[in-house]
Amino acid sequence: MNGDFNFCFMLRYIFSKPERHDVVAIRLAGKKVILLKRLIALERDVVEFRNGALFVNEKKIDETYVRYPSGWNLSPRKVHKSHVYVVGDNRSVPIGVHQFGQTSIDRVIGAPLW
């Protein structure tokens, strides 16, 4: 994102599955433009934001990686089967502008190397 170049490790999830808190690379139509997002919930989890705090399955999640806390509010929603829920770490922008949400696990093509 933001026009930066990142090296992506495409084999990262060959023998393992993405886990909560991983930063993952999500493809669009191809692999030239990818989105780097934080995976916050797995399939069938229930995601919610209350005054900027993340709740997964009603349990508050400590997000040490979030630099600029937000006041986001998002009603509970269930992650569909074979989907993951991803959010960016930059929560200083309004929730309406930020690109986040659930996406098919097939779109996760790896993880950034650094």
């Binding site: 669009l28 692999k31 989105l35």
Partner: protein
């Protein structure tokens, strides 16, 4: 010896013919891509662009659309059929809010399910600077349907794929 000479010449002519064929005959895929390049160029804007150029560009955008084009963008709660007559006004109005626009299209996947129809999946990256000075960068996956009318590929449907669904 003479036979070998003729063979070399014939081979050379054949290779030249094949190269010329690929250079001068555009494949259907290339023709489809060319329409998208045309669209990206006409949407693009520089700070120096005059109003006359802006109007001309908005008018020419019609050339890559069918009489009616269905645009579906759930992320923006936008879904409607737009006639080619409406297009220039809409484009002009949208572009007037920006002082600079750059649209890059990549990762084309082109399929021809039947004669005269093309289905295209691509990534659109748009960077724009609003007249207020705000900088916006967006990346979207688009699914498009094109129809070949009078030997020209024209956009009939554009759908913005919801890669991330809140």
């Amino acid at each position: 010896m003479v036979k070998a000479k003729y063979s070399i010449v014939a081979g050379g002519v054949l290779v030249a013919g094949v190269i010329a064929f690929f250079i001068f005959s555009q494949s259907e895929e290339a023709k489809v891509k060319k329409q998208f390049e045309f669209l990206a160029e006409k949407i693009g804007k520089t700070p120096e662009e005059s109003q006359i150029i802006a109007a001309a560009k908005a008018n020419r955008i019609r050339e890559v659309f069918t009489e009616t084009c269905k645009i579906h963008a759930p992320a923006y709660s936008f879904s409607r059929d737009i006639s080619s007559d409406e297009l220039p006004t809409l484009v002009l109005s949208a572009r007037s809010q920006c002082s600079e626009i750059s649209l890059k299209l990549c990762d084309f996947v082109i399929d021809f399910p039947e004669k005269g129809t093309a289905l295209v999946n691509l990534t659109a990256s748009m960077e724009s600077k609003l007249t207020t000075g705000e900088f916006i960068e967006e990346h979207h996956e688009l699914k498009c349907k094109l129809q070949k009318i009078e030997d020209i590929w024209r956009l009939k449907e554009i759908e913005m794929v919801e890669v991330l669904k809140k």
